[in-house]
Symmetry: C2
């Protein structure tokens, strides 16, 4: 069997995750890493991974089966994915929920022009969480949805703390409130405020002599990021932060409760949860599974922008249809 | 919007569940119930539901969009589904895992002959659990699968107890072992024996004067059903059984743990769980969602036997593709 050739476009934590994930899948191989930095300055995680300049990518358009675009949603992906989708089958993890329809339209136009398949917003939220929302809603039309995130590191909140004067480094964990989770699982259908769903836990390294009370107050009162939450601030040393908080764990829960039957008397709880040691490595693993599906759809001459909702589960599996029916159904 | 006309073939707990589920979905309406009994002896759960004789069904083949076949997997479905799949779009909940490939082949031939869509083995296991096994395996190739069932009523085990001399009635609950679940969730990758995964809890109504010790021993030593499990037997009165154990709850857990990254150093846990007050009503709700998908596929001129693996999630939703992308992704 000829292996599917996957290339990585953008090389940070997510790109490294894709590099590892490609190694785990027997039907994929890494064509190479494309970087906007000088290629010779980039050291791949795995021996043998080739590094190319991003500006040369169209030269390789006939040699790459799927391009996994590992850029940020704020500024990179809205430009990169539409620009690359006419020449390559592409996957991205665009996660600005409100802007997905706009991104979809731009990518769809490019992909259809080039006869390629693009899959956007792949990962776990959006991605696996979205899928579970859709399945659970289709099964239980009369019900209520809940999504909880964490325990996990929020990069955006960590960055927001780092911008405060006197802060050298910070790590912020989002934590679901256990009592809220318990109530949802019991089918109590609670209406939960922002504060009732999640708490925020911050580890902060401050400059020597900094006013810790001021920093703590600035964090806790920061609009949007912290003011609507119960927030705990712990000041620790850089050594402690590096030693105890270097991982990028995350996860969460998608729960739908709903009622059926006579007088809606039967209650049901559908729950999907993830507990991830590495957010970027898990996201990368989802991206590679959808790269497989994208390539299969391309081989069947389907073109245009797709989401996880459009892709039949069988296309994600390394196994044949006969195998999954016999072994997994 | 014209509503999709759904008919129920076979009217027991599952059929009643479909009748209720159709009422919950705004784009479906019940054409009627087909029964092998005398139609006038069947009282539908909902006012206005029409009852027809199963032997007349082909008369209505142009008026029914999807037929939900609510028969047993042991003897009914292997005959019914292939027999009906040439004339109707059909859904069944065939759940004898080992015989699925054979059932698939028979149904596929009939459905292709008639240009119809058949979806087999729909429900939660097989069904939603199968989907979650496939998704989790595609994402984490290097990992381990676990399925736990319960707490829930096993009809087969309850029936087996009822066949023992001196037993008037019985209800058997399958219960997952909490310590095993905890170990799996921690990523310890335990190898679990049958006994370590589930216990069995039995409520038994015995004839007056029956030898309770003998009955208990016959249950606990029954091969396949109980001998490999830690089994608890409680003798209760018929009144207690009817009062406390009339529901048909079920549920369970599909968990995959897997590793990624440098030296496989990151552990991930994907968990899907169901807690169902009514096993047949929930299964029926899944059947109706897949009836929607079957009919959409039929309208697109796709024909043949399908499974949950073949169906793009978007086809299950009452909402349009644009809506689910905007609202659920």
């Amino acid at each position: 069997m000829e292996k599917m050739k996957i290339a990585i476009y953008g090389y940070g934590n997510l790109g490294r995750g894709v590099e590892y994930a490609v190694r785990q899948n027997p039907d994929t191989e890494l064509f190479g890493i494309f970087t906007r930095r000088a290629p010779e300055t980039v050291k791949p995680a795995l021996e043998g991974s080739k590094v190319f300049s991003a500006s040369d990518i169209t030269r390789y358009k006939d040699q790459i089966d799927v391009l996994v675009i590992c850029g940020g949603s704020a500024t990179d992906l809205p430009k990169m994915t539409p620009a690359l989708a006419a020449d390559f089958n592409v996957i991205d993890s665009f996660d600005t929920h409100a802007d997905i329809p706009k991104h979809f339209a731009a990518v769809d136009e490019a992909a259809k022009k080039g006869g390629k398949v693009a899959v956007i917003s792949v990962g776990w939220d959006p991605g696996m969480f979205s899928l579970n929302r859709l399945y659970a809603n289709a099964i239980l039309p009369d019900g209520k949805d809940y999504t909880f995130w964490g325990k996990g590191v929020s990069q955006g909140h960590s960055d927001a703390i780092r911008r405060i004067e006197g802060v050298l480094d910070a790590r912020q964990y989002t934590i679901p409130v256990q009592a809220a989770l318990d109530s949802v699982r019991k089918g109590e259908n609670p209406d939960l405020t922002t504060r009732e769903k999640h708490t925020r836990l911050c580890y902060v390294v401050a400059e020597e002599g900094a006013d810790l009370a001021r920093i703590e107050n600035e964090i806790k009162t920061m609009p949007k990021y912290f003011s609507d939450y119960d927030t705990t601030v712990n000041f620790i040393s850089q050594e402690e932060l590096d030693r105890d908080h270097k991982g990028i764990p995350h996860g969460g829960f998608v729960i739908r409760t709903g009622r059926t039957g006579e007088n809606n008397g039967s209650n049901h709880v559908i729950e999907y949860s993830l507990k991830l040691d590495s957010n970027p490595e898990f996201t990368a693993s989802v991206l590679v599974a959808y790269a497989r599906a994208a390539y299969r759809m391309f081989l069947r001459s389907e073109a245009g922008c797709k989401t996880v909702f459009d892709i039949a589960p069988v296309d994600l599996s390394v196994k044949t249809r006969e195998q999954v029916i016999a072994e997994m159904l």
